[in-house]
């Protein structure tokens, strides 16, 4: 996997260089954006609702027991928007969108469609990679906003309905509002943006490098998802470290 890093960085760099062509490829960007955004919205909402809920359920009783019930909203709110929502949504999208990108580009590589593009002097990076990376880099942060909001609602609902937690929805939400600041949301958005670039680049890179037949495509998909998730989790730590330094 780490052998691929060079190729990955190169692909990312080439895509960056092609960025001025984005407007020209806007139709393809929109198509991809539709896939990433609308296609995943429902799943993102359902998952983040449960993530918010379970977070409240895990932390709630402990905090209530120690008389810290008033801080529950803030803790759940921060945990969600700074860490859990960005990472889990990125993992979800790696599985849902990254795999699809890798499979599609991979099958194009195997069935010589990419060769055909090259013979027509159409750069596969401009034609295939650029629209996908832009779409995911814009779409995933937008999904995160939904994930944050729905996750907070999930937490609030569990607090107000579950006997073991028993913190009213009002007090949960007001504590959340007074603790979570806009910069915490930004913190999550920045991470998500980076994760999106990782998913897009890794998936396209694996796709382009596909060789062999259907089995090659299968391998490509596995590698795209696994490598994306591994990179996301490792980079998450360092990125958080960096962001916390900056925020101080």
């Amino acid at each position: 996997m780490f052998r691929d890093i060079g190729g990955l960085v190169l692909l990312f760099w080439r895509t960056l260089q092609a960025l001025p062509l984005a407007f020209r490829h806007r139709r393809k960007v929109l198509e991809q954006f539709y896939e990433v955004g609308l296609g995943s919205l429902l799943m993102v909402c359902i998952l983040s609702f449960f993530i918010g809920g379970v977070l409240a359920l895990e932390i709630g009783p402990v905090m209530v027991e120690r008389g810290l019930a008033n801080y529950l909203g803030g803790i759940v709110g921060l945990g969600l928007c700074r860490e859990l929502a960005p990472v889990l949504m990125a993992v979800l999208i790696a599985g849902r969108i990254g795999s699809a990108m890798a499979a599609e580009i991979g099958s194009m590589a195997v069935y010589q469609e990419i060769d055909a593009l090259r013979t027509m002097n159409i750069n596969p990076i401009h034609y295939l990679v650029l629209p996908r990376i832009i779409a995911i880099a814009v779409g995933l942060p937008m999904l995160l906003i939904f994930a944050d909001l729905v996750g907070w609602m999930g937490g609030a609902l569990v607090c107000s309905t579950n006997q073991q937690v028993a913190v009213g929805m009002q007090s949960f939400l007001s504590n959340l509002r007074s603790t979570v600041e806009i910069q915490d949301v930004f913190h999550g958005l920045i991470k998500t943006f980076v994760f999106a670039l990782i998913i897009g680049t890794v998936s396209c890179h694996q796709g382009l490098a596909t060789i062999g037949g259907p089995r090659g495509i299968g391998r490509t998909v596995t590698k795209a998802v696994v490598n994306s998730i591994v990179l996301i989790l490792i980079l998450d730590y360092f990125l958080t470290h960096l962001l916390v330094q900056i925020e101080k």
């Binding site: 055909a116 013979t119 027509m120 002097n121 159409i122 750069n123 034609y127």
Partner: protein
């Protein structure tokens, strides 16, 4: 990305080309020159390296040794593809499966923004008509038969009005009448654009019907190269067999 507009035809030189996959040497020192505007036919047994050779000429494969020159410049020379229009009709067609037939055929013009949209539509219809697929614009490749895919691929290549065009078995999978139309179109394209054409084929009628010169390749080496009448007189046993074999049982 831009598309070249000149109309000079190009000269192709292949010099000492060698290529191995793993430890299988597919091309073992292939050399020949295709003159400007020539129709050069490559024949040879299945698996002899013809498709691999074409992919080298258009720059999709890297040779282990040897050179590929277009008008004296290496195929990977910076900007060469912006100077010369090239096209290849792949053996498998290689249509983009996520696009419709019309989008496939119009891809080059749209991506390089060469014409206004109404013109592009007209050109697509015209080229599809040439290959006998009028009105199939909205179909998707999965709905087509093998021969239809091949013809769409040909239409897609014709749209480019290439100066160098490579055909990988353009008439396999086609019925004899359409095969003749395709052969005529290869000749017509040369008339129109003075394109240099390299045609890989197993179809002896096509080869002798359109070729200026024919090369026989076997096991990664060129056995014989010359005008069709030279080839007919060739003493090389494999060439003779290849050109004369028929279904009559041996006496």
């Amino acid at each position: 990305m831009s598309a070249p507009t000149n109309h000079e035809s190009v000269r192709v030189e292949v010099r000492g080309l060698r290529k191995s996959f793993a430890d299988h040497e597919v091309l073992r020192g292939v050399s020949f020159t295709v003159e400007r505007g020539e129709i050069f036919v490559l024949m040879g047994p299945s698996g002899s390296g013809k498709s691999v050779l074409l992919k080298h000429i258009i720059g999709l494969e890297e040779p282990d040794a040897g050179e590929l020159l277009l008008e004296g410049q290496g195929i990977h020379t910076e900007g060469l593809r912006d100077r010369y229009r090239m096209a290849m009709v792949f053996q498998s067609g290689a249509l983009l499966n996520s696009l419709t037939v019309g989008e496939n055929v119009g891809l080059y013009l749209r991506e390089h923004r060469l014409r206004p949209e109404p013109d592009i539509r007209r050109i697509i219809a015209e080229k599809l008509d040439i290959v006998g697929l009028k009105g199939t614009e909205e179909k998707i490749p999965a709905e087509l038969s093998g021969g239809m895919k091949k013809r769409v691929a040909l239409a897609r290549a014709l749209v480019i009005e290439p100066q160098l065009i490579l055909y990988d078995e353009p008439t396999s999978e086609l019925d004899p009448l359409i095969a003749i139309t395709i052969g005529q179109e290869i000749l017509a394209l040369r008339e129109r654009t003075h394109a240099t054409s390299i045609v890989v084929t197993h179809d002896r009628d096509l080869a002798f019907g359109i070729a200026d010169r024919i090369a026989m390749i076997a096991d990664g080496e060129i056995l014989e190269i010359g005008r069709p009448e030279d080839l007919r007189r060739s003493q090389h046993p494999l060439v003779r067999k290849f050109l004369t074999a028929d279904f009559k049982p041996k006496p």
